[in-house]
């Protein structure tokens, strides 16, 4: 992403009020979530919707912390590094954007989940979420494996784009829309 991309993003989605690029830690995530809380209170967003914004932000940033990789495919370590941005447009829709590097394996997993989510309506997503939570099939040491369903449950639109870096590394761009005026 270069500065022109950021400019076009601003033109498309309005004001940026939170943006971070670099290494992520739990403390940073919690600090940024506090900034989002202040934003929600200032804009009189209902508790239910603001909690959706926080949860989506937390899911995406914790995913980034747990799965980001180095561009070099020989480096197998997790590199908790990426870009996070929260914007809002004139209709007061909120957008949570992220960019980070993931492995081919993780790209395939994300693609499969997004395709499944896109095939379901809201009720179907909620049903699938509870089903996966109950049977624990996606459970692993870092989480319950239901994060994308959590995001889908709490948002109005998910855009997901992959950009190839090399055979085993891809940029993952996510843009999640949350409507606040219903």
């Amino acid at each position: 992403m270069n500065i022109y991309d950021i400019q076009s993003l601003v033109e498309e989605d309005g004001i940026i009020f939170l943006s971070y690029g670099g290494f992520l830690s739990q403390t940073l995530i919690s600090g940024m979530t506090e900034a989002l809380e202040a934003e929600s209170i200032n804009n009189n967003i209902s508790l239910g919707i603001s909690n959706n914004i926080f949860t989506v932000f937390i899911e995406i940033s914790q995913n980034m912390m747990n799965y980001s990789k180095d561009i070099n495919p020989d480096d197998l370590n997790t590199k908790s590094h990426g870009l996070m941005m929260v914007t809002k447009d004139a209709e007061k829709n909120y957008y949570i954007h992220s960019q980070n590097v993931i492995s081919l394996d993780d790209k395939l997993k994300v693609e499969e989940k997004i395709a499944d989510i896109k095939s379901l309506d809201k009720e179907g997503i909620k049903k699938k979420y509870r089903e996966l939570r109950r049977n624990g099939r996606e459970l692993h040491d870092k989480g319950a494996g239901i994060g994308f369903y959590e995001i889908a449950k709490r948002s109005d639109e998910i855009d997901c784009i992959f950009k190839k870096i090399n055979e085993d590394r891809f940029y993952l761009h996510l843009k999640i829309k949350i409507v606040t005026q219903k």
Partner: protein
């Protein structure tokens, strides 16, 4: 057996499990490593249910928002309570702010998933 008391942080709730049968879990829940964070609570509960417990166990849960791994953990927590419901009188209060519809929905989902547990939706 001693009480378990954990102080809330910016991303973990306060946990107060009292041997008199009053439990409360209050705050936000999005730990970096959820299962590790809640392990002492789960261990404490297993020990509690294997001892002579008070006549009634009341669980007050007021979780403002939580990540998906906490959601799974709460599911496992309710599962453990359900396993022990026959020998113990257990009641859960899922407490939320009246205009927090996402927390209300989370509570309703747990009620549907755990039909044999007494879960009350309580607005503040």
């Amino acid at each position: 057996m001693e009480n378990l008391n954990l102080i809330a942080t910016k991303y973990t709730p306060s946990i107060d499990l009292n041997t008199n049968g009053i439990f409360s879990i209050v705050g936000k829940s999005y730990p970096e490593n959820t299962f590790e964070f809640y392990e002492p609570m789960m261990q404490w509960l297993k020990k509690y249910f294997s001892n002579n417990t008070p006549e009634k166990t009341s669980v007050n849960m007021e979780i403002i928002y939580f990540n998906s791994s906490s959601s799974k953990l709460f599911f496992d927590f309710f599962d453990l309570l359900e396993e022990n419901r026959e020998e113990h009188n257990i009641e859960i209060n899922w407490i939320y702010d009246a205009d927090n519809e996402s927390s209300e929905e989370a509570g309703q989902d747990f009620i549907e998933d755990f039909e044999d547990l007494t879960i009350n939706l309580v607005t503040k």
